[in-house]
Amino acid sequence: MKIVQHKRSSSLPVVLLCSFLGATAMVDAMANTTPRMIITKPSAAASNEHQHHGGHQQHGQQGAQQQPRPRRRGAGKQLILKNGEGAVVKFWAPDLSTTEVALEGNRFTTPKPAVDNYHALIAEQQIGNLKQAAIRYMYMRGKPSKESPSKLAAAQKTELEIEPAPIPREHHRYMANKVWEFIVRFKGEPLSGIPVMLETSQGSRVEATSNDAGLVQFTIPDDFSEVKPGRRKNPAAELSLFAEYKTESAQYETTLSAAYHVDPDHWRSKGWGVAVAGLGLVVGGFVGGIGRGNKRGKKQ
């Protein structure tokens, strides 16, 4: 597996470097002018637009100014479909039932969920012999679904898809510097040797190739330009994974998008943690040792 990382702002030198290194798939992907269809959050789309105008810092500042919105149980969520004007969007429930979602321009709102747990949004569109798909998994609140998210993730929802393996569990999330795995599937079967591109809204790109089991592994880039101490002070950014596959008669493209968060190690020190625990050990040893004279005699 070959992984290359660079910032979009310095694309020309990196393209040359990649060419030199032989990362041809990456160069091809960058040269591809077909706009990719991606499902994003409204704030992420706005920050992407800022970013395209050359402002990484703007993204952080804008995100930090956002006020947390109260979450309502069972409410739908508003999202944006980029480059998917003619797409059909479906909302997949944990039991694999689907509901078509109406697009209003490039925006749409998910239906009010009947149950909790992960749901999937699948957008599909056909442009000539190119079939594009965009996928995003979202945790919805509601009554217990009684279904495992693995059922939803493993189900064939479109021809070419990137399956999270697994989707982050309750209380966990995609985080910078952490390793996550995905499976590339075509019509439900794993695809090996497929280059997958991970892009972030902060401008990083990482490429990896699926193995024999269709598995591809990424360390999410630690690319937040302005990190403040504390998780809540750092808004999430967006990542998307892209893969394409050609058959004799058609070309398929797919994206999987999700939010990812700052690595808390920016404001956490493991060294100090070990040192403090060591101090506790010493103090505990001393306190425990005081009573060593009080040995058990005929103890039980």
Binding site: S148, R232, W267, R268, G284
Partner: protein, 345 residues
């Protein structure tokens, strides 16, 4: 096989399930458990088989109860998630009673294993902790339950405290560090320098973790004595089906072996001569007092009033012999010719 050995096997199996269980039952199945029976292990561990009930309690105090009061919302609606958590906790509690602490809890098991290691290393555990220290320590678990699990999270929900106090108990809980380290994840053994609150709590948590390890080598169950889960269990101990019963005789006054055997140093098991129900607030229903009671049926573990394990002189003799053999076998004793242990205690 004596009861202690059987209990150790149960504890080790439970430890495996609690710390690595998602590999056995599926990565997502754990979430269903956590929704249905949030009363077991730690949510910070990615591979855990279940979640500790103290996590939902803290978050519900902050995000449901506190925020509902602050926004003049419907209090019953705000309390409903807490009542559901409490209800599901009680379902489990009725069946397991306080035996969760003595038979299931991974942190309790870890401390017992350290205690065994301490004994083998010849670090000589004390016979029992000083009575005054035991009595002074007992209120700590109630204070931890009240302030760290309920009070500070509610204050946060009301807007009077930092959001970093949503889960203050988790921030100092040694199980958070233990279960993640056991999975090769070092993320939780750290000092969080985001602000003074997180720094203070993380330093205290790390210190407590180190302190617990060192003390567990010489003192039995050091952290259990201040654990808010013990206080939670103590609150509802009357409704648990498993109980410790005593039929005191005149011989009890001079004996006291039960109190010496107790890993929580509950001397009242020995001194109580009137009550027949002796599941005291610190009791973890480990059954050691019953094992070391030499008189027939004086101490009993009863499940729904049916005796499931009773004291007897024959068992006592075998158990004492096994215990002596176990205690003789230390690393120091390996240098000298000695009797091989018959069984561990």
């Amino acid at each position: 096989m004596n009861l202690s050995v059987f209990r150790k096997l149960v504890q080790i199996a439970a430890f495996g399930f609690m710390v690595y269980g998602s590999g056995l039952i599926g990565y997502y199945t754990v979430d269903k458990f956590s929704n249905a029976l949030p009363a077991l292990s730690c949510a910070f561990n990615h591979n855990t088989g279940d979640y500790c009930t103290l996590i939902p309690f803290q978050h519900q105090m902050a995000h449901r109860v506190g925020e509902t009061i602050a926004n003049d919302g419907n209090l019953l609606q705000g309390l409903m998630p807490t009542l559901i958590t409490l209800g599901t906790f009680l379902i489990l509690f009725v069946f397991l009673s306080k035996a969760f602490c003595g038979w299931i809890c991974p942190l309790g098991t870890f401390q017992e294993l350290l205690s065994m290691l301490g004994q083998k290393l010849g670090l000589q555990q004390r016979e029992s902790v000083n009575e005054k220290i035991v009595k002074r320590t007992r209120p700590v678990k109630w204070l931890a339950l009240f302030f760290l699990v309920f009070f500070f999270p509610i204050l946060t929900g009301l807007g009077y405290a930092s959001h970093d106090l949503v889960d203050p108990y988790c921030k100092i809980c040694p199980s958070r560090i233990l279960t993640t380290l056991a999975n090769g994840n070092t993320d939780q053994l750290m000092v969080d320098q985001a602000n003074p609150v997180t720094m203070g709590f993380s330093i205290f948590g790390d210190f407590l973790f180190g302190l617990m390890i060192a003390l567990a080598l010489t003192v039995r169950q050091p952290f259990c004595r201040i654990c808010p889960m013990l206080a939670m269990n103590a609150t509802f101990r009357k409704i648990g089906l498993l109980k410790l019963a005593k039929n005191a005789t005149s011989r009890c006054e001079k004996c006291g072996l039960c109190a010496k055997a107790c890993p929580m140093d509950i001397r009242e098991i020995h001194t109580e001569m009137v009550k027949t129900e002796v599941t005291f607030e610190d009791c973890t229903l480990c059954g050691r007092c019953v094992e070391f009671c030499p008189d027939k049926d004086v101490l009993q573990l009863k499940y729904a009033t049916i005796p499931v394990f009773s004291a007897s002189s024959d068992y006592f003799k075998k158990r004492k012999k096994a215990q002596k053999a176990w205690e003789k076998a230390t690393l120091a004793s390996l240098k000298q010719p000695t009797v091989q242990p018959e069984a561990k205690g």
